[in-house]
């Protein structure tokens, strides 16, 4: 019997109809919907007892005290320690990242040695032996570059190279170093500090003090305390700088000033104060008066900077009329600040009689050292890293260089030339926690444990008006095969037969704390250091300083260094005050959201970076509509910035926050190392930023530079 067409159709139709009465198609449709939408596994939250532990942030330059939440002993989040004077509960996005950056994909997970251009893991013992041999061979031809601005680890490292017969210890340039150089030119003693808490009128001369200048969380706390919404502001804040952003946005007034003109503006104010009767005295005063009287009258300032005389008169009146005025000079980008601007700002403080006064300038005496043979901070700060690397680029590099918490291949002006110079160093070692640009160039990478994994300390970050010391203690075992660099250096010295007298960083810190206890001071609990500066009686010294520091409290010493040789350095100023020549000035700025050169962009911060700074791989620079019209560009236009022999492609964001003739550009992007959160994101503006040397002061400055736009 054959199957005809009719039978076939009937069979198929019957089959379909029959199948519909079975659960099969419905089950299949159901399975299809389930399996096509099978959500992948996502992490579950941890379970365990919640507790809090205290330490201080080393990643954040503010040096804030941290209150770390732990779950089952593992650190999960970092908030500000409310009992720490540098944080008072506040923390930056960098300090916040201290916990999750433990697991950053950019972390160096074990010691690495470069073999045929590629890194291979080695053991710590192998690394110790290899480095000891190299250091012995290098002898006194060894140098160290450190980016740790506040740690006693500098004592360990500098004592180590000193034992080798070297004094080539360089700090990564910072506000602290710019200030130290300029302050010593004025004959000042100690580390300049600014008592923002007790000031009632703060004239901020360029310093981005609520973002990158000094202990910025402390500064912001002082600013916040001065203006309670329920009452009138207790202090006025005036910002002078090229861009109204961050710091400038919350100040009572913004005075647009190009980076190279900051000194001129301060001296213009000095001219008005002198006309009103203020009379400088002390070393260099005669040259100062002569220079200011003949070069800095308001009409001359207007001709040079475009500022109306009434603006300067307004500032002078506010300062002169205040009970506790304060001038805070600094760099708008947190580095490469002008020595001339610093000296001019300090001259204003001196004219106003604000040295060693509550709410004025309080320079901090040096803290006692713990390690015998360690170099003095003041001596270290005299060494110029830029000059050292330029020499290295010219073939005059020492045999071996140690890089500690430093990424000069990325974070210095003319970054390409710096990276080339570093590449020419015969043997280089990085103690980086993350695989940064400098570590990538090194022969050995010996990863330092991160803040929450090591013993360390934070001593008096630049800018604070009181000596402050806090402890960094391990809250977890090292996640990876890392070591505290100071411990490793102590072992290295021991192996080389040049023991530094300590077996571990913990011992060094205990010796440091013992020395601090003898220096006086108190624990900031009931009385805060700014209250002591204002006259509150200081409490009794701590009975057990180490225990208090371990508990997260800070030791403070509220006393200014005696100034015996401080003067106006009028002769230096007369040579150093010079504008940046050029139609358009590139003014870099830095935000904490884009991290620091040694840590890259913290993973979580990428969400916070605004889309007027970074979109995909494009960096945006800001200029106002008038500046844009000079070049015929508009919002989103692609332009090329040329400077320091390099060209960088960027995009334009129109912003009337930027003064005419200035292009404001964000630092912190354009990494070629680190991880997916940093690498390839935008461009590194430092590549087109050339440093200029201020005549007379002999200080390299890169808070702004003339550039070409194409």
């Amino acid at each position: 019997m054959g199957i005809d067409r009719r039978a076939f159709i009937g069979l198929v139709a019957g089959g379909v109809a029959g199948t519909l009465f079975t659960p099969i198609p419905w089950k299949m449709a159901d399975d299809l919907s389930i399996w096509s939408q099978n959500w992948s596994w996502i992490p579950r939250v941890p379970k365990g007892p919640v507790a809090y532990a205290y330490t201080s942030s080393k990643l954040c330059p503010s040096g804030t005290g941290l209150k770390v939440m732990t779950v089952g002993g593992a650190p999960v989040t970092a908030a500000g320690n409310p009992d720490h004077p540098l944080s008072q509960g506040g923390v930056s996005s960098i300090g916040r990242s201290e916990t999750y950056m433990l697991y950053s994909p950019a972390r160096v997970k074990s010691p690495l040695k470069k073999v045929n251009g590629k890194f291979e893991p080695v053991t710590w013992e192998e690394a110790l032996t290899a480095l000891a041999e190299k250091c012995k061979a290098a002898g006194a031809k060894i140098a160290c570059v450190s980016g740790d601005q506040t740690g006693t680890a500098n004592e360990v490292l500098s004592a180590f190279i000193a034992k080798q017969g070297s004094s080539a210890y360089y700090m990564v340039p910072s506000e602290k170093q710019s200030a130290a150089k300029a302050w010593s030119l004025m004959g000042g003693a100690g580390q300049p500090g600014f008592d923002v808490d007790n000031a009632d009128c703060v004239f901020i001369l360029g310093a981005d003090m609520f973002e990158t200048w000094g202990s910025s969380i402390r500064n912001r706390k002082a600013f916040g305390a001065s203006r309670d919404a329920s009452g009138d502001a207790k202090a006025a804040f005036i910002y002078a700088g090229p861009e109204r952003d961050g710091t400038g946005s919350v100040c009572d007034a913004w005075i647009p000033v190009k980076p190279g003109d900051l000194a001129m503006v301060a001296l213009g104010v000095a001219w008005i104060l002198m006309e009103a009767g203020a009379m400088p005295s002390g070393p260099g005063a005669a040259e100062f008066v002569s220079y200011v009287k003949s070069n800095c009258s308001p009409d001359k300032v207007e001709a040079a900077c475009g500022l109306k005389p009434a603006v300067l008169v307004g500032v002078a009146k506010m300062l002169a009329g205040a009970k506790a005025p304060l001038v805070v000079p600094g760099s708008p980008c947190g580095q490469g600040g002008s020595a001339a601007a610093f000296m001019a700002g300090m001259a204003l403080n001196m004219l106003l009689g604000r040295i060693n006064k509550p709410g004025g300038v309080v320079a901090l005496p040096a803290l006692p050292k713990a390690v015998d043979g360690a170099m003095d901070q003041a001596d270290i700060l005299k060494n110029d890293l830029l000059a050292f690397l330029k020499d290295a680029g010219a073939g005059k590099a020492p045999e071996a260089v140690l890089f500690y918490e430093a990424n000069p291949a990325y974070g210095l002006p003319e970054a390409d030339a710096m990276a080339e110079a570093i590449a020419k160093i015969p043997f280089k070692v990085s103690f980086a926690s993350f695989m940064d640009e400098t570590a990538a160039l090194c022969d050995l990478v010996l990863p330092n444990s991160l803040t929450l994994e090591r013993f360390d300390d934070v001593a008096s970050p630049y800018g604070v008006a009181f000596n402050v010391y806090s402890l960094v203690k391990p809250l977890t075992k090292p996640i990876y095969d890392t070591r505290t660099t100071a411990d490793f250096i102590l072992a290295l010295a021991e192996k080389m037969g040049a023991s530094l007298g300590f077996a571990s960083m913990e011992e060094v810190l205990k010796a440091k704390v013992e020395a601090l206890a003898l220096a006086g001071g108190f624990i900031a609990k009931d009385v805060q250091p700014w209250q002591a500066l204002a006259g509150s009686s200081a409490p009794e010294p701590s009975a057990d300083l180490w225990a208090d520091l371990e508990g997260g409290y800070a030791w403070v010493l509220a006393a200014g260094a005696e100034q015996t040789g401080l003067g106006y350095a009028g002769g230096v100023l007369a040579k150093a005050v010079k504008p940046i020549e050029g139609k358009v000035v590139l003014a870099p700025y830095a935000r904490q959201t884009s991290g620091t050169p040694v840590m890259g962009i913290p993973a979580q911060n990428l969400t916070i970076v605004p889309d007027n700074e970074l979109i995909n791989t494009a960096t945006f620079v800001k200029m106002n509509a008038e500046t844009a019209s000079w070049f015929g560009v508009s919002e989103g236009s692609s332009i090329t910035i040329e400077g320091a022999g390099q060209k960088l492609p960027v995009k334009v964001h129109l912003s009337e926050n930027v003064m005419t003739g200035v292009i404001a550009a964000p630092l912190g992007f354009g990494h070629s190392a680190f991880d997916q959160y940093s690498k390839g994101k935008g461009v590194n503006i430092l590549r087109v930023l050339a440093a200029r040397v201020e005549e007379g002061a002999g200080v390299a400055v890169w808070d702004g530079a003339a550039v070409n736009i194409a």
């Binding site: 939250v45 779950v71 969380i217 305390a225 946005s249 969400t607 889309d611």
Partner: protein, 253 residues
């Protein structure tokens, strides 16, 4: 739109715009407190997850008369929330003393009606699975559950902190429904470096915010929509307050 719900306790946030430097610490705090995954390409702001966003305001004047301000924007926890009435599955509701608008992730079907209904762009949709780099999931907090892709999420004034504060009050023998000023603070308010964010119970005269919100300089966003937000802003600058709503030029703020 649902009816206005009033409670004995009304948790409010007051953001002093004149103190906000736009540093983003509040966003950083929020992300890690609430287990939001890091996003390798976070520049497309339409696809990123962020419960707290800092906006830049401009007075629209050319240099040198230009002025600017930053405005941090969490969920407004509206007294009359437009998102709640549109939710087909009651994944979001306003029914607890304190007035915090809830968001129940396992109930959410990802229809995004609430995202469209929210006039403040406070709600975000998870377009991607949350992925932490290897090991980083060990820094998740036990406070907020992780969410898969495909659901809507938003700020909840760190509601877990309210529970913790109530527990702490109970442990101390105090009334958990009458917390002291400062006993309960969201993460952003806790860590803001300038102290621009105040937080407390608007109905409690002992709380600072009780007075702050009465200031003539205090305002709420899009107040005339009738959403009755529980987030207040504060600015002495008239042009800032004017941007809080769609005022006509002739209207005074």
């Amino acid at each position: 739109m649902s009816a206005f719900k009033d409670f004995d306790t009304t948790w409010v946030m007051v953001v002093d715009i004149d103190k906000c430097t736009g540093c983003g610490a509040c966003m950083a705090a929020c992300q890690t407190e609430n287990n939001i995954a890091p996003q390798p390409d976070a520049s497309n702001k339409l696809r990123t997850v962020s419960w707290m966003t800092v906006y830049e305001l401009s007075n629209k004047m050319p240099f040198p008369d230009h002025d600017m301000a930053y405005l941090p924007r969490p969920c407004m926890q509206c007294g009359n929330p437009p998102c709640v009435s549109v939710c087909p599955v009651i994944a979001t509701d306003k029914n607890e003393n304190g007035g915090i608008v809830s968001q129940i992730y396992p109930r959410c079907i990802g229809c995004r009606y609430c995202v469209a209904a929210c006039p403040y762009h406070a709600r975000v949709f998870g377009w991607y699975d949350p992925v932490w780099p290897e090991g980083m999931q060990k820094t998740l907090t036990p406070l907020t559950s992780t969410r898969p892709r495909g659901v809507v999420e938003k700020c909840n004034f760190c509601h877990h902190r309210l529970n913790l504060a109530k527990d702490a009050a109970r442990a101390q023998g105090k009334n958990p429904e009458d917390l002291e000023d400062g006993a309960y603070k969201p993460s952003c308010a806790e860590i803001c470096p300038t102290g621009a964010i105040s937080f407390g119970d608007a109905k409690n005269a002992k709380h600072k915010v009780h007075e702050l919100i009465k200031s003539p300089n205090a305002f709420r966003l899009l107040e005339r929509l009738g959403t009755k937000p529980q987030v207040y802003y504060y600015s002495k600058r008239e042009w800032v307050r004017r941007q809080g709503d769609n005022y006509l030029k002739s209207e005074k703020v």
